[in-house]
Symmetry: C2
Subunit: 393 residues, 2 copies
């Protein structure tokens, strides 16, 4: 999350129809003038801005209908949903942003506006690992906005099935957690499924300091998994320099222990507060936003490049000396960086391996295109699972 400072510059427009009180308002960027602005005048300014925003959203919705028509009269959202276009729109929002709102908030607002415009005929149907309220549902809303029909499903397998059968337009499944690693069952589905990856979503999980006591000053011991201590190092040094740090096997275990004393706290996700009857004394307290879960968006087709994409490959190779080296060499040769590699036992024969490889770039781009052709000479099979925009905010 990039939190931008309040460096608003000029360009303040008067609302189309200013009320009589408007002239009393000071400019919002005249921040160094410490006289208190007139509340009624400021509200009149905001009302004028709201009127303009609403008019523009209306225009945008009307134009969005034209995109639908360009694709075919009264098309359903799935027919003209373009992940690469959405990614480009959101990147422009981030590029233009010079505060005071941060990138994450603005991206969320524009996601919702696009979602609303897209859903005018038939909203997208998105399958996810239910029940409602899971992180998967949060990932669905983060990626597609709230103007969709969410279908909570019982298993990752079912998400694949429902998208394959066309009951869902897209599916969202977890694939990687920065603390727990890869979710194998998701990767394994690609060994037999014909579905494509057409997006990724990253969801941050925040750390909180939980305790049954009410005040930070009372805390003399903190329980947490060593990884969580590492994540919150700077915060702990600043706010609890004298507290004893006691490593435990899991944050849940730490929360359980913290329940027994007023002078103890645990580092854990906020949901542990409810489960263990603790209060959040502070949060989020992680130094860097690296505690994330990564989700894949599943669809039935491939999409064109957005300008900043990632390609997921499934490569089957024979178990022969140097095979993996030969498979990876072309990417290095063409200057493509590998983000991730994961080996899985293949299902199609003995002594054969499958590799899941993530590469920076899009399969339709020249360098990737050439590298893939060269890889094909050494691999038994190369399957492009998808080329999709890198997650935004």
């Amino acid at each position: 999350m990039t939190t931008k400072g309040s460096k608003a510059k000029g360009k303040q427009r008067s609302p189309a129809k200013a009320t009589g009180r408007t002239r009393e308002a000071t400019k919002p960027d005249a921040g160094k003038n410490e006289t208190k602005p007139d509340l009624g005048a400021v509200r009149a300014q905001i009302d004028g801005i709201d009127r303009q925003i609403q008019d523009l959203i209306k225009q945008r919705a009307n134009w969005a209908q034209q995109v639908g028509k360009a694709k075919g009269k009264l098309a359903a959202a799935v027919d003209y949903y373009r992940p690469e276009r959405e990614a480009q729109v959101l990147r422009r929002v981030v590029d233009r942003n010079d505060g005071p709102l941060n990138d994450e908030v603005l991206v969320r607002l524009f996601r919702e506006i696009m979602s609303a415009c897209l859903a005018q005929q038939e909203p997208l149907k998105i399958g996810f690992l239910g029940p409602e309220g899971t992180h998967s549902q949060q990932a669905v809303y983060k990626h597609f906005g709230h103007s969709i029909h969410g279908l909570p499903l019982a298993s990752i397998e079912e998400v694949f099935q429902e998208v394959e059968a066309g009951h869902a337009d897209f599916g969202v499944v977890p694939v990687e957690n920065s603390t727990q690693g890869t979710i194998q069952s998701t990767l394994d589905m690609f060994l037999t499924s014909g579905l494509r990856i057409c997006g990724e979503v990253e969801l941050r999980v925040h750390q909180h300091l939980l305790s049954r006591a009410g005040r930070l000053e009372d805390i003399e011991r903190v329980y947490a998994h060593p990884q969580s201590f590492a994540q919150c190092k700077a915060w702990l040094r600043q706010y609890l320099p004298k507290a004893e740090k006691i490593p435990v096997s899991s944050n849940a275990d730490g929360a359980k222990r913290a329940r027994n004393a007023d002078d103890a706290a645990a580092i854990a996700g906020i949901s542990a507060a409810t489960v263990y009857g603790l209060k959040s004394l502070a949060g989020p307290i992680e130094d860097r936003p690296d505690n994330t879960t990564r989700f894949l968006v599943l669809g039935r087709e491939l999409f064109p490049p957005s300008g900043n994409d990632r390609t997921s490959l499934l490569v089957f190779i024979k178990d022969q000396p140097g095979a993996l080296y030969h498979v990876l060499a072309p990417f290095a040769k063409h200057g493509l960086s590998m983000n991730r590699i994961e080996s899985r036992p293949g299902h199609t024969g003995l002594w054969q391996y499958a590799f899941f490889i993530d590469i920076a770039g899009h399969a339709q781009e020249e360098a990737m295109h050439r590298a893939l052709a060269e890889v094909a000479d050494f691999a038994q099979e190369v399957k492009v699972l998808g080329s999709y925009p890198v997650a935004i905010s």
Copy 2:
């Protein structure tokens, strides 16, 4: 939900910096012209609109900082959050709306914009009945937008406690479900708590047709609670006129039965699909949006009128003939309609009753003010729990 037609009229502006392709774009409201619009030109129009929306949101955020300053330098959100002002802004959005987006979607977008603007210094902290993912959390986001800190708590009692102690700025608790009735434990908290009601949220729960079969044509029997049948009458008449309707004691029971046959379906909320391994063949299928849960927003103070408010009273009366009649008469006399009344055994003495009464209007309005003065003569105690804006969309 009011779904408005696509009756956009004129007023389409050119984006500030139109690209070369822009002139090819047809007007979005020239709908009767069946020529397909040029996709690139339409997108250029949308890009221009997005630029303007973003600029206006930025201006709005800057003005919102001025509201904070008008209340005191760099005030926290809780110091200048005004529920009556938010309600007025949203009602204006609904009043102005002439499509193509529906009221519910526009209200959501403006809630998020207000939420983002308000959260610039210190976001609101909202306590709710956890864990994350509950309907209470949905109600929090619906009312306050996503730019808040949500605190999931273990019980309704704890939500009250955390708001009282100031650890949460506001709390959101369920109070009424249109199918299950009043949530008594919430009302009882007001017998001893000093908290005030400063808002209400209504959350619709949608009905779906769930089945293990994949096609609507296969359904010959539908299970549901009689109330759910009543809610989906028109839909069933249109889409399943020949199917046998079998009433059961609960929708969960119906879902369980529907699991055993390919030609059976059940009417239930979408979350039952996950629990019972069924698929949604259609949804939402309710004829009217009357399947709602109502939540109260708890705070520590009363707020001024928004123009369309409701007042919740807690009235203690002695058990003497005609007491309740005398308490209710003043409201009728002053033309104030009563939305709801609920009696509870009082905690302060034998043979004494407490009544929770909801009245249309605000306690600071003339008629209500007079009625309350008259009620005070007959009641042992009258407590204004809150006067707050009627729920919007």
